[in-house]
């Protein structure tokens, strides 16, 4: 068999050949999106609804009592902020979220990790948790008020009850995803069960745990407003109820936007934390 080196002319394209450029439309499954396609989409996602809102509220089709203009909403927000009410409401709500979320995390993460790694623990807890988590948390509010009164305890209890079961099961699934060969390899390297838990299951689960916490932090934000709508003397939810009494829809809109922005900020903080704490699991 003769083998000859390819000459330069061999690799020239035939005459009349035009190279095909691949187009990135953003509509192919899982394709990588170039930045110059991505940013216009991201900006439109925020600008388009804003424009629609402005046009609708300025058109005179809707009574401004029902739909304030963006400008009126912004002004209402500035007024709330200047009066100091916004800050004190934010502090009250964020404190509740922090306490409720903290208690939830302290219970659910160790329990979830234990359930995900020890089938006995899982069999013991999963049926009951699976049942309770389908009971809507707000339905517990009357019970908590009877048991704990109208104070902070009832609100915190709602936040915990509404998220702890979900976070437990999600953490359990994360821990159960640790490959068996990774655990076995660790045993053959001399590790015992405690070491495997600490040096293998925990670090492997970290990004998944942070993801679960991120999801349930959003749920905590939803619930805290529910709790404050029902019974509170402070907080962003309380501010909405007050505004409703005086038909101040612009205040309601302003507070809703503030809630959304705080939620978005914490969400991004968790994403950042995940990428910093577990760079190996970055997609």
């Amino acid at each position: 068999m003769e083998v000859s080196a390819p000459s330069a002319t061999d690799s020239l394209p035939p005459p009349g050949y035009t190279p095909v450029r691949r187009r990135r439309s953003g509509l192919k499954l899982r394709e990588e999106l170039p930045q110059r396609v991505r940013w216009p989409l991201v900006i439109s996602s925020i600008v388009l609804p804003l424009v629609a809102w402005t046009m609708l509220s300025a058109s005179g089709l809707v009574n401004p009592l029902y739909l304030p203009t963006p400008a009126a909403t912004f002004a209402a927000g500035v007024k709330l902020a200047q009066g100091g009410l916004l800050l004190s409401d934010m502090t009250a709500t964020i404190t509740r979220v922090a306490i409720g979320f903290g208690i939830m995390a302290v219970i659910s993460i160790p329990l979830g990790l234990a359930m995900g790694s020890l089938p006995g623990i899982r069999a013991l807890f999963e049926p009951m948790i699976g049942l309770i988590r389908y009971m809507p948390a707000p339905a517990f509010i009357p019970l908590f008020i009877i048991w704990l009164g109208l104070g902070e305890a009832a609100k915190i209890a709602l936040l915990v009850i509404g998220t702890v079961f979900f976070n437990t099961l999600m953490s359990a699934d994360v821990a159960a995803l640790v490959p068996k060969t990774l655990i076995n390899a660790s045993y053959t390297l001399g590790a015992n069960r405690r070491v495997v838990m600490r040096k293998v299951i925990l670090p492997h689960s970290l990004p998944g745990l942070l993801d679960a916490m991120r999801v349930n932090l959003a749920a905590t934000w939803n619930l805290v407003v529910v709790a404050e709508l029902v019974a509170a003397q402070s907080g962003l939810g309380y501010r909405i109820v007050r505004a409703q009494r005086f038909l101040q829809t612009d205040d309601i809109f302003a507070v809703l936007i503030v809630i959304g922005l705080i939620g978005l900020t914490t969400d991004m903080a968790f994403r950042l934390l995940r990428n910093v704490a577990a760079p190996w699991a970055r997609p």
Partner: protein, 267 residues
């Protein structure tokens, strides 16, 4: 073969004695191992070959202490295995590296568990990364290096705790042909350099003949050892694979496996 001081007979580094393993299956119990006996002498590299499902992995897992035998015992230096431990390293077919640890961090794992001082760990890690040709990749994460490099890291990690026996379960099964033959050369050189006793499972008879001093051939249903070959070649390197003696030896072992498969097929 070395003689243990003060004893009349040599003691195998690793020995399986009358090993049985049953698994409960959907249609009765599966006999994964039936009366299996093997020996691996100090410094030897022994291969296990056999059809899929003949219990090779089961045997290795029992030797590693990850599974219990239904009956029988595995001895290391004459002492029965009662559970997993760092004196028996195990390398899996699938990459089993810690994805959050660097190559160096993976190799350090067993040494950290042992409770070595940081300086000693760093030095040993450097030593084994050097032997494995991984020094350049010390700071890389597993996902950043090729499959061959990942498997080298797994071998380095298993060797770093200086086990008495290294167990390898189809370590090169997932690699492409070129990488695979490079890894074979590499394993030979590691074996020459460190003299670690090794028991390796492979699907490839050629690989077994190239690498090992002895070959156990196993057959399924029930899983058992049906033959033992002593491999006569001295200079192990890839040039060997074209020699007529090598090829005819491979054919001899292959024929036995094929024969076994046809017996099973006509049952």
């Amino acid at each position: 073969m070395t003689l243990e001081f003060g004893s009349a007979r040599p003691i195998p580094k690793l020995e399986a004695v009358a090993l049985f393993k049953d698994f409960p299956g959907t249609s009765g119990t599966v006999s994964a191992l039936e009366d299996v006996a093997i020996r691996v002498w100090p410094g030897e590299l022994v291969c296990l070959v056999g059809a899929s499902g003949c219990g090779k992995s089961t045997l290795l897992n029992i030797a590693a202490g990850l599974e219990d035998a239904t009956d029988g015992v595995v001895l290391v230096d004459g002492y029965p295995v009662t559970g997993p431990g760092a004196d028996r390293g195990l390398v899996f077919q699938s990459y089993s590296l810690y994805p959050w640890r660097t190559v160096a961090g993976n190799v350090a794992f067993g040494l950290e568990v042992k409770g070595l001082k940081d300086d000693d760990i760093a030095e040993r890690v450097r030593h084994y990364l050097g032997i494995m040709g991984l020094a350049k990749f010390a700071g890389a994460l597993p996902k950043q290096i090729s499959g061959g490099m990942q498997q080298r890291t797994a071998i380095a990690r298993a060797l770093a705790t200086e086990p008495k026996v290294l167990l390898l379960d189809e370590p090169f099964g997932a690699l492409d042909a070129q990488t695979r033959s490079a890894m074979q050369e590499f394993l030979l050189s590691v074996h020459r350099e460190l003299g670690t006793t090794m028991l390796m499972v492979t699907h490839s008879v050629e690989e077994a003949v190239l690498l090992s001093q002895r070959i156990y051939v196993m057959a399924p249903n029930p899983g058992r050892v049906i033959a033992e070959f002593k491999v006569p070649f001295q200079d192990r390197s890839h040039s060997l694979v074209h020699e007529p003696e090598f090829l005819s030896f491979v054919r001899q072992v292959d024929d036995l496996l094929r024969q076994q498969a046809s017996v099973v097929g006509t049952q």
